[in-house]
């Protein structure tokens, strides 16, 4: 019984939240890694792209809610998601036309593009705050829990409860579907193959007749979809606040770099590595250990390696360790 209690406490406080968080990071990191692989620069505006896509979705969710349109037990935001993606695609294509195309034509160095993307980041930052304001916005509706703590305790008779939020379930399922679609697209379709060819060797790809502008456009469209989905899932699961998306930039980049920049599989693995490290290192293990250890060995302290304030320090440390010992990342991406 104690073993079960320990397992449930571990699931409730570590495994479930870290899995949902990992899926959100993975989707964000996929966008970063695609841009790095194909357009060859680190896009600092990615966090705010997520915020923009999520914002459009939030606005349309409110519209749907005011019309009385719901999605049953699922959040209405899922219905508004396609519109959010369209809005985000519009924004990214516009930015590409107005900003990035100019630098591409100049064959600007990646480091210049990085700085350019920071400028874009600040502008998007401002646009989002201007339209929806800097505060918290609530847009989640529908059933809150798949299993709530109380139901779980009643069902199993255990002391510990397990909560599984609807948003956590949706996050993981959506992430799996999106990743499957992305890999199918990259590996099986003509456009996907041309993108990979362009990523591997730009000159060779141009010689074989691939239209670079088309590759760039398709990349932005996919990135917009990924960013919006990641942004909406994060907002649904936690809360929508423009500033938090800016803060997400660090763990997202850490995920992409740990997995190997430019490698989609690495981005996913990196997302989960970062999420699980952040949660397990800052978790206080006392509760789990008390169930597992014989009484005389039970810990007095919290058995917490780092205070939760240092969550971001964990991402930073992993980033440093990877860059020092394996600069190409776990899955052999491009070196930074």
């Amino acid at each position: 019984m104690d073993l079960l209690n320990a397992l449930v406490a571990l699931l409730n406080f570590v495994v479930v939240p870290a899995t949902a968080y990992g899926a959100q990071l993975a989707l964000g990191a996929l966008g970063v890694t695609l841009i790095y692989g194909i357009l060859r620069f680190s896009n600092f505006a990615h966090g705010d792209t997520m915020a923009f896509g999520a914002m459009v979705t939030v606005l349309f969710t409110w519209l749907f809610q005011s019309w009385g349109i719901g999605f049953g037990p699922l959040p209405t935001a899922l219905l508004a998601l396609p519109i959010g993606i369209l809005g985000c695609i519009g924004l990214l294509l516009l930015t590409d036309r107005m900003v990035y195309r100019f630098y591409r034509a100049q064959k600007a160095k990646p480091v210049i593009l990085v700085i350019v993307s920071m400028g874009v980041m600040f502008i998007m930052n401002g646009i989002v705050r201007f339209i929806i304001g800097p505060g918290d916005q609530r847009f989640a509706d529908g059933e809150r829990f798949i299993i709530s703590v109380r139901d779980f305790r009643e069902m199993t008779g255990l002391r510990e409860g397990l909560a599984l939020k609807t948003t956590q379930g949706i996050t993981v399922i959506t992430a799996v579907i999106v990743v499957a679609l992305l890999f199918w697209f990259l590996n099986r379709t003509r456009t996907g193959k041309s993108m990979r060819a362009y990523s591997d060797n730009e000159d060779l790809a141009l010689l074989s007749g691939i239209n670079p502008e088309r590759v760039v456009m398709v990349t932005w469209i996919i990135v917009a979809a990924l960013a919006t989905i990641a942004g909406v899932l994060y907002g649904l699961d936690k809360t929508f606040k423009p500033f938090t998306y800016f803060m997400l930039l660090l763990p997202i980049f850490a995920s992409a770099i740990v997995g190997g920049l430019g490698n989609p599989l690495g981005a996913i693995a990196g997302g989960f590595v970062i999420a699980f490290s952040e949660v397990t290192i800052t978790y206080a293990w006392k509760k789990v250990l008390v169930y597992l250890m014989p009484e005389p060995l039970e810990p007095d302290g919290l058995v917490q390696l780092l205070s939760t304030d240092y969550k971001f320090a964990v991402s930073f440390s992993i980033l440093l360790i990877v860059l020092i010992f394996k600069p190409t990342g776990l899955f052999r991406g491009k070196s930074v």
Binding site: F13, A284, L302, Q304, S307
Partner: protein, 396 residues
């Protein structure tokens, strides 16, 4: 011609100043930031007192009082300091009703009020660190809210009267949160209780599941959330309820607000808390006056704000001057016995009594009684959640 114009203008200015004065009082509160949902009721409270004094016509030979609002942001000391600087140097206020949160209040006091010699009366800064036992404030700082050292005692009494002896504490990582958490921990342990952990949380994060995980590990029957209702405190409660880590909470003053009813409702049934408040006659009168004026007079710190503004104006009347250096010594006199007891809505009468040379004991909306270096002795309203909203459970 030019000289003539200037001379006329100068005469007009002098003439304007010589008769009924237009006294300006600063109202510096966090109209944006973590307690932005309660500050409008506080500002309205202070302005209600000013309007009452102006309308009575008894103030310093018919002078009127005007409010100048400024934003303390509650958390950004730099912004608060420059806002207060502007109030004094450019608007020429004679006293400051504010600030609200302890950190910015301390910053304004040190950087602006002390150097400029302006009186500050805070309605809501409760950090024990602001108590000036050695007159470090030159007698310029007062508060109509009690120090958190007192709140520590209240929290302990409420918890133990309800039979809870083991609590976990989480606090918002700033002067207010730290001061309050320390006070609660010290008092609760001194009274024989167990505090399993005292952990900070940062405001403005999207997700508090990690913080709650650590608190859950430490355990405890009740979670004391010494945070802000519009910020991290709210997130902590959400995450604690979702993960089933705690289902009973204690809410200190910064957490008691309508938002709890809106966001959580019945999920909080059985939780409780306390914030400064009183069942005195004054509180009731004030609530009536406030609803007539179109705001909520039972909102946290709104009565204290009315009293803070009223005290300054009554002291000015007693000193016969708007000079802070002169009226600062009169604040304690008008606030405490002896004298005729004054309730909200009776400011005109009080001004008349003072003008006639009489004594008053300002009771006001929050049963003001200033002790020590000029802070309220403190009355608390205990609340508990029944059927999805909080109700008054008693007064202490």
């Amino acid at each position: 011609m030019k000289k003539l114009l200037m001379a006329t203008a100068a005469t007009a200015l002098v003439a304007g100043g010589a008769f009924a004065e237009d006294v300006k009082l600063g109202v510096i509160l966090g109209f944006t930031g973590p307690i932005e949902s309660i500050t409008p009721h506080m500002g309205d409270g202070a302005e209600l007192a000013m309007k009452e004094v102006t309308d009575s016509g008894n103030f310093l030979g018919g002078s009127s009082v005007e409010s100048v609002r400024a934003d303390s942001t509650c958390i950004d000391s730099g912004a608060a300091t420059s806002a207060a600087e502007r109030l004094i140097t450019s608007d020429g206020v004679k006293g400051i009703m504010g600030a609200d949160c302890s950190g910015v209040t301390g910053a304004i006091l040190q950087n602006v009020a002390l150097p400029n010699g302006v009186v500050m009366v805070s309605p809501s800064a409760t950090s024990p660190g602001l108590t000036h036992a050695e007159n470090e404030d030159n007698g310029l700082f007062f508060r109509t809210a009690p120090s958190d050292a007192r709140q520590g005692v209240i929290v302990t009494n409420v918890l133990q009267d309800r039979g809870f002896n083991e609590v976990a504490i989480t606090y918002t990582n700033n002067d207010y949160g730290k001061g309050l958490a320390d006070a609660i921990e010290a008092e609760f342990e001194a009274a024989g209780g167990t505090v399993t952990t005292v952990a900070a949380h940062e405001d403005g994060k999207a997700d508090y599941s990690a913080e709650v995980g650590a608190l859950a590990s430490a355990g405890g029957e009740v979670l004391v959330v010494a945070g802000y209702v519009d910020q991290g405190g709210n997130g902590i409660v959400r995450a604690a309820l979702d993960t089933g880590a705690f289902d009973t909470f204690y809410f200190p003053d910064g957490m008691v607000g309508e938002k709890l009813n809106e966001d959580f409702g019945a999920e909080l049934n059985g939780s409780f808390g306390a914030h400064p408040g009183t069942d005195s006659e004054g509180a009731e009168i004030y609530a009536g006056m406030a609803s007539e004026a179109g705001f909520d007079g039972t909102s946290a710190f709104s009565p204290e704000s009315y009293d803070a503004a009223a005290l300054m104006m009554l002291a000015m009347q007693a000193a016969g001057s708007t000079d802070p250096a002169e009226y600062k010594t009169h604040i304690m006199d008008v606030a405490n016995a002896p004298g005729e007891v004054i309730f909200p809505g009776e400011l005109g009468k009080a001004l008349q009594i003072i003008a006639d040379g009489g004594d008053i004991d300002y009771e006001g909306a929050s049963a003001v009684d200033l002790i020590g270096s000029g802070e309220s002795a403190g009355n608390y309203r205990e609340i508990e959640f029944v059927d999805g909203k909080y109700e008054t459970a008693g007064y202490r």
